[in-house]
Subunit: 419 residues, 2 copies
């Protein structure tokens, strides 16, 4: 029994990694982000006999776990690039971007569905699904372009986290209205408040605890071995994994996306990175696991069922992208129009967050299978469109400012002041 299972898993892993490797080579040759190739590999696997042949439907638990761990570790790595102190700097702009990037898509999605003749609840639900931002795709493009230090990247990551919390809040409220009873609204309000409290609490507690942990260790080293740094008794990787899984679990328990927890864990670890270096240890793990997430995003695309919802799907996709560009752009207009475009486009992909919203709606019986398919289509279309658009927007942005940057910063880093 166990022997057969591992054989099947090995075949799945072999085929999927071989395809991802081939896609990566092609992407390198034609110079597009690897993530596009990985999503296309997923679409090929999902829409041919391969999905059934690999038994990805039946034996999907391992694959599902790899995909989920991939995105959790990806967000941990993104968090590692974003220490608390940095988040404080971009905080206000990120909050404006996130807030306006929630309001515009929500209204846009609601109005579009209302104009098409749908009733209040489905229209509100589509609005809620439009709110989410999947930072995974954006983070990967940023990583591929080596722009993790750019101010736009940090605002995008910060805004996406706030946006996730705001998105959960909107979803909770809409689900509450859809449910209809007073108890539900009270309960969903509690869930929403829990989410906000969780994120703020982790940041505040982390900000207080971590400097103390650092101080204790530094004092010990100073007294006992004044000239050399002792290797820590606790290895960095298990410590990082425990924090990552712990906070992800807590986030999931609060009804938030698990990735919010892993991102916060990464942020916390960024502050002790010099004492417990784990960035280099996460890179190969992510190189192994993250492609599974993007391949799964592609696998979910089922061409056959999209024939009857193509027009409405394309229309809503246009609304979804435009409202994020307007909302995100307005929130970050102080950085200049090209930076605002980067941030607006970077907020566009709905990815797995949109898919989760769609699944919840379908599970509640609040939306029909057709609307569910539309939301899935929009999530995937924005996710597939975003990398190319974001790459283009980043190039346009740095083409204009390149000289300005080089004059500004002797280290060659892309640093900007917030004002």
């Amino acid at each position: 029994m166990a022997v057969v299972e591992i054989q099947q898993i090995l075949l799945q892993l072999f085929v999927i990694i071989a395809f991802a490797m081939a896609a990566a080579v092609i992407c390198k040759l034609i110079k597009v982000p690897t993530v596009i190739g990985e999503v296309l590999v997923g679409i090929i696997i999902g829409n041919t006999g391969m999905f059934a042949a690999l038994q990805l439907g039946g034996d999907a638990q391992v694959f599902e776990a790899f995909k989920q761990l991939g995105v959790i570790f990806l967000l941990f790595a993104v968090g590692l690039m974003t220490p608390y102190s940095e988040l404080r700097k971009v905080g206000r702009t990120a909050f404006m971007v996130a807030s306006l990037g929630v309001v515009f898509p929500f209204i846009g999605g609601y109005l579009f569905m209302t104009v098409l003749g749908y009733s209040l609840i489905p229209a509100l639900f589509v609005g809620a699904a439009m709110v989410a931002t999947s930072v995974g795709i954006t983070a990967r493009v940023i990583g591929d372009m080596g722009l993790g230090d750019a101010i736009e990247s940090r605002i995008l990551i910060g805004a996406a986290v706030i946006d996730d919390v705001l998105g959960m809040l909107v979803l909770a409220v809409v689900v509450g209205i859809a449910g209809g009873s007073g108890t539900d609204i009270a309960q969903t309000a509690i869930v929403a408040i829990e989410g906000v409290v969780f994120v703020i609490a982790v940041i505040i507690i982390g900000g207080m605890v971590i400097p103390r942990v650092r101080k204790i260790r530094e004092r010990k080293v100073d007294v006992e071995r004044p000239l050399q740094t002792s290797p820590p008794l606790i290895s960095p990787l298990p410590l990082a994994l425990v924090l990552c899984f712990g906070l992800s679990f807590i986030a999931a328990s609060f009804g938030l996306a698990a990735i919010i927890g892993s991102f916060l864990a990464g942020m916390a670890f960024a502050e002790v990175q010099d004492r417990w270096p784990c960035k280099e240890k996460f890179e190969p793990i992510n190189e192994f696991l993250v492609p599974f997430f993007f391949i799964f995003v592609g696998i979910q695309v089922q061409f056959a069922s999209f024939n009857d919802i193509l027009l409405i799907g394309l229309g809503l996709t246009a609304i979804a992208i435009l409202t994020k560009i307007i909302g995100g752009g307005l929130g970050s207009r102080s950085l200049g129009s090209r930076s605002a475009m980067v941030i607006g486009v970077g907020m566009a992909p709905r990815g797995e967050v949109g898919l989760i919203v769609a699944t919840i709606g379908l599970g509640m019986g609040v939306v029909t299978a057709t609307i569910y398919s539309v939301v899935v289509f929009v999530s995937l279309a924005t996710t597939i469109a975003a990398p190319a658009m974001l790459t283009y927007a980043f190039k346009a942005r740095f083409k204009k400012k390149e000289k300005h940057i080089e004059r500004d910063d002797e280290d060659g880093n892309l640093k900007f002041r917030d004002r």
Copy 2:
């Protein structure tokens, strides 16, 4: 649905890694191999309410996959330390060690059960289960002690691979006799021959193909960029993973243990390690996954069911260890008595291979639940006893020869001639 599942997986991962981390710290402080702590953590999880609380029984597919991948990657890393050329050097001794390490335990197990009054088939089956060598535990102790270059380590690894093939052959024959029909014997003979052919074919084909691949790449670099080595278009990690999963899958398809495939993949990759360096990339992945294997070894120990089989279990454990020491020691007596002891003790752990044999026997209805429990007990007892014994044997061995080594080798490496 998917949200609940990932939440459960995150909790499992958090608790297990936290326990493994605590065990590692304690093992470092009291200076014993980390693997002992990990197995003990498994025993604690498996024999308390934790196993049920973590839902490791119901939701074990992810955990099972992690454990299996852990041992597969571990053997890949071991293979990376063992290029073809090195295996050829220790080949004859390793073959003698493996052969005698198969014959003695098989006869010992068979006689012990016959003396106790068991009939032919169960006695033969216990003999077959005694044959296996789990190289995982031994490899980890070798790694922890930094003795991967010692001649004993290489003979042990080489012998364990040959032993796995021979063990499968013995198992196939015994299963054939147990099955009873002529067709089965013919078929099991084919399976056994397939196994031998597979290993030899991979080594021969690898030995022919790899030098050509190296030559092609080197020529290209020489012509196009004479002074600098270009980074390969194909990244080392996906290439290594594809080879590892591909050969593991093929090995599993032949009815062999998947780890034989990953070991051979590691051996093949060792030859191109300078062109596609992946050793450093596998280290963090293994640091993440390998503890799951050893924790699972511990989880399988169920104290409650061992009360009635304790005496026979202890007797067979003694037979299991002694026959491996006699067989392995006789095969390697040319290296001196202390080295022979290291090799004999290093062959002792049955680990997951013994457990797989036990599961097959129970599944066939060839052995009773009691004999199954005895075999599980012996597998675990030898596995738990081996690290301490091996550590002690290695220490005794190097205590005696230390001066001799230092005179022998200016580089400080522990090198010995085979004669």
